[in-house]
Amino acid sequence: MMNKLIVGRFVPKDSFVHRMDARAKVLLSIAYIFIIFEVTNWLGYLIMGLFTIAVTSLTKVSLKTYIQGIKPLIWLITFTVFIQMFFAPSGHVLWNYWIFKVTDIGLLNAVYVLVRFILIIMMSTVLTLTTSPLAIADALEYLMKPLLKIKFPVYEVSLMLSIALRFVPTLMDETERIMNAQRARGVDFANGGIIKRVKALVPILIPLFTNAMKRAIELGDAMEARGYQIDKPRSRYRILVWHRRDTMACLVFGLLLIILIIIKHFI
């Protein structure tokens, strides 16, 4: 279950987006969020929507997978949309009851928020579906490099991140094993009220934590034995390569931004 959430998201395929540099993808995903706030009218949203669908089709991953990415956030979206709808500050009042007030502007804003939400989720899903977690960690290391100036331990944090990712499947297996061992002793994880089920987690978490500690100590020994020293310059085996397609993708995003700004101010 958790496996699907963290690691299973990445769908290895050979597409334009998959081949892109992880740094470009992380940067553009962030840029996308800023760009979408430049959009204020229907035409803008139409262009943005078409653009996003074009990008998702470039990934060769089915649209269904993207829709599944939206599902877990459906409640958050609904909540935000309703807030927008019922608490609009201005506009023609269409419907009024107690403190709730639906206005035409409020309704329009609610639809905008809904579209904006869906588009942002789709674009960030593009990142996680086409980029391995490790590549994202590498990209973050690179993008965090300016923080070295304020003595932030960028390399150490990035190594921690990649080791954490590497141990996710190991700890998953271990959880499964512990659960089976506890089931064999008669612990019931599936039934009972919420309190009973939370209590049933305790006999999983305690052995999991102690084992994780033991693993960490052994891993530390192994790393030291292999010559790992904090604060010493290390060379890199895995590197990220920026290609022309990454520059091109950035240019396309720039173009998109220009078009949207023109639409916002002149139409």
């Binding site: 490790l134 990649s162 080791i163 990712l165 590497r166 499947p169 190991t170 297996d173 033991k214 693993r215 052994e218 891993l219 020994d221 192994a222 790393m223 030291e224 034995a225 292999r226 010559g227 790992y228 020293q229 010493k232 310059p233 290390r234 060379s235 890199r236 085996y237 895995r238 590197i239």
Partner: protein
Amino acid sequence: MSNIIEVKNLTFKYPQSNRQALNDISFDVKQGAWVAIIGHNGSGKSTLAKLLNYLLIANEGTIKVADMLVNEVNMWQIREKIGMVFQNPENQFVGATVEDDVAFGMENRNIKREEMQVRVQQALMAVNMQTFAQHEPSSLSGGQKQRVAIAGVLAIEPQVLILDEATSMLDPQGRQEIIELVQKLKKERGDDLTVISITHDIDEAALADKIIIINDGQLIETGQPTEIFAHGDRLLNLGLDVPFAQQVKGALQKAGIKTPTHYLDEKGLLDWLWELNSNQ
């Protein structure tokens, strides 16, 4: 051959324990030798391995590796010379993929990327894992992970390879793979590679040139495998296994059949049994 490792009057106690984990231990290892250190669980043999490259700090006594004193000043140079493979295959796999893990030791030594690529390939070839370069650890068996760990050690070209119970968590097939691999490496590299295998697998120990027995922190005996295994009862008393061939010999002796006094491996025993059969 000169000594690559010299241990003198080594004593060590864990801070939280009131028992000496190692008590006044002295021994030498010649360059190019294959030494097995055996003893039952908790005898202090793994502690000894960690002391050799300063993962633990001795209370008393001295250790020299390649004529360098093992201390805070020399620790990183000594770790250059000693490659260690630990017991748990999972907990020494640092990299996200096989090739990343093999490269880890070289990254720590700030070796150029082009050089690393060549050496990763070579090391993976040496352990016959080259087709797995891109694999993630979760898709490998225990024996394969240990082979990757050995490749990671080989990539830094150490003089000493310490196997700290490296086969104890593997299935019989995985264990056999690792033992054969170490034999192969030892044969290829000859006196350039010294092997210290810490184990309670007696068949693994039988491959060594020299066996050191440790019991409750004390060095009980050193000698060649044939000498050590010749007195089977003593091994049993120390909580160690006796090789199968040795057990057969003991049983034959009890049945009143005169057997040779020196150590026989399974094949040796078989030959001797054939001989006995044809003599009768």
